[in-house]
């Protein structure tokens, strides 16, 4: 039995350094009417990948700007068609949206293939081998069913998506394996719902108490309606501000703790509380700085998320060997990015 070695992922990017890259990217993208944005994306990804290191070696991104530009143009046309046509003619907009939805699983597979194929570590590339037919089940059928059941199946759909993407991902010739069950996903959301109920009840109790003790001047018959309103609005705000970072933190931990690569495991220990602080702080500073804090915010979040992941190495990680290279096109990647269906890995 080889002894397990914990190796933390490191992130060495800095806000000031990335700010310069970011602003040059923005400026050149505007001056070239968006054409440079494909090159900007490559620079940005390379910056984050190369600053992410594991056991002394960095990751790298190899996306070809011209391929990304082609994808961007197709994605832009589809998006423009949907948003403009939809504004003038809702029915035609709906038809376009339905077509995009039908294409989406196929696009997502291509996007995953492109992104993983163009990611490397120690000279070996990652790869995605998932089939489109399964993508239609995992990226379309389950989300549709969860929408039809008013969100009751959202955790199930999320688990299926994570399992599909991870089980079909490879580093060199070694496949990733994903082991989290559906219950783990339900657990996260049940905790969130429970949190919401607790906040609601607490707010309700406080307002009723304050009202009946005469501290808030309100007539008895209006008290119940008012405290309901305050509790509902307060809960909504609290969940809106807290639930997203909390769920994001718990999901990251679940994803990595349930992922293995060959004999090696991973561990993630992001804290929901700290995630709330970082995300709220970032949003506040981005607003106050009229958007200029964005690059610093990106770095801050990336550092926190990356530095809380460890590789649990069972034996040498030098032994990975190259696998079959997969073909990948940028079009899917861009479209997935644009419609915000980014699947983080």
């Amino acid at each position: 039995m080889v002894e397990q070695q914990r190796r933390q992922l490191q992130f060495s990017g800095s806000g000031g350094e990335y700010f310069r890259i970011w602003i040059v990217n923005v400026c050149l993208s505007i001056v070239t009417l968006g054409i440079y944005s494909a090159w900007a994306k490559v620079r940005r990804n390379q910056y984050f990948y190369r600053h992410t290191t594991l056991a002394g070696a960095g990751f790298d991104y190899h996306g070809e700007p011209k391929a990304i530009l082609k994808g961007r143009i197709i994605a832009f046309l589809m998006f423009a068609a949907y948003s403009l046509v939809g504004r003038f003619d809702p029915l035609a907009g709906f038809v376009i949206l339905a077509l995009i939805m039908l294409l989406m699983p196929w696009l997502l597979v291509r996007s995953l293939r492109f992104r993983l194929h163009n990611t490397s570590y120690r000279g070996l590339r990652f790869a995605f081998h998932g089939h489109s037919s399964q993508a239609y089940i995992n990226f379309l059928l389950w989300p549709l069913l969860s929408a039809l059941t008013l969100g009751l199946l959202v955790p199930l759909a999320q688990q299926r998506m994570a399992r599909y993407t991870r089980d079909n991902s490879a580093y060199g010739s070694a496949f990733f394996k994903f082991s989290a069950g559906v219950w783990a996903y339900y657990n996260i959301y049940l905790m969130t719902v429970l949190l919401g109920i607790l906040i609601f009840v607490a707010l309700m109790a406080v307002t009723v108490l304050l009202g009946s003790s005469g501290l808030i001047p309100v007539e008895a018959d209006q008290l119940r309606a008012m405290s309901l309103l305050i509790a509902a609005v307060g809960t909504y705000l609290a969940l809106f501000l807290i639930a997203y970072p909390y769920v994001a933190a718990r999901l990251q931990n679940l994803l990595w703790n349930s992922t293995s690569l060959g004999a090696h495991g991973f561990s993630s220990y992001v804290k929901g509380r700290e995630m709330v602080g970082i995300m709220l702080g970032n949003v506040l500073l981005i607003v106050l700085s009229l958007g200029l804090y964005k690059p610093f915010a990106d770095i801050r979040l990336a550092r926190y998320r990356i530095q809380h992941i460890e590789l649990l190495a069972n034996g040498s990680i030098d032994e990975f060997v190259a696998g079959l290279q997969s073909q990948a096109s940028a079009a899917g990647d861009e479209m997935a990015d644009m419609f915000d269906f980014d699947i983080a890995l």
């Binding site: 070696a57 000279g123 915000d340």
Partner: protein
Amino acid sequence: MRVAAVYYDGRQARPHPVTLCVEGDKLLLQGKDIARRDALATLNIQPPLGNTPRLILFADGGRCEVADRQGFADMLPRDAGSAVSTMENSWLYALAALLITLGLVAGAYICGLPYAARVAADRVPVYLLAQMDNQFFASFDETLLKPSALPAERRQAIWDRLQHLSLPPGAAKPERIEFRDSPELGANAFALPGGSVIVLDDLVKLADNDEEIIAVLAHEMGHIAAKHALRQMLQASVVGLAMTWYIGDVSNLLAAGPTILLETRYSRDFERQADSFAAELLRANGMPVSRLADMLQKLETAHRPDELIKSAQTASTLDYLSSHPNTEERIKRLRGM
């Protein structure tokens, strides 16, 4: 001169500590159990990026990571960097890029966007505009807008009066006038992108005579003649798209779709244009320009107390005022005409 590096052969994850040196037009790589000699022309030497290691990618998938960036630059001075990496490394260039970006964004917002919206507005087919108006009524009838409680003959009288107006060249009467009641919006009238005009009951009740209503309609016809609603909507869509792109959340925009129509805010210039149009029309039809000023005055006072009393309950009452900036200034201007 030799530079230390780590080499990966592209077939296995094992790192090989090596040294690099340049001999003529070839790169010599030497390690304990590895050596290769490649023509510099065949190598993909990546431009520097921040303080990340310098990278050499070999054609066969091999890869070299050089942490010593200074040593790398000394070894291969002509690959010190690309134009872009030079810019990225300098705060001066970053500041210049920031100023250019802010300048271009401001310029595009102030000049480019209105121009593009005007050009685009002239090219939107008429049937689409009519469809948009129908869509507007479909989404707001029975929710924000209630059927008008005005007697039919009163509505007919206003319509007839409008039909007998003589119009300045190039102008057209509204395609249709829809009377509605809306307690939330109070005394108000809107021009929709397709040329329909909505007149709310409270506005008709507020007016002391028909000429005052015609004056408001003339103002709305000014908006229609210059396609203000459509232009404003196109501008708002582009700004919304850009913001969405930057922030990265599409769902907000999709949800906001129909309400953007209602939230259309006219710029001061658009209001002034519509006022001038109305003044000209009123004068051409033998009505005093002061009718519009009187009406504005009444709307101003009608909305003010509302605002104070139920400011907390309905923010929508504020909309009329904010969508008609500087009413005082407009009244003064109209009185001077």
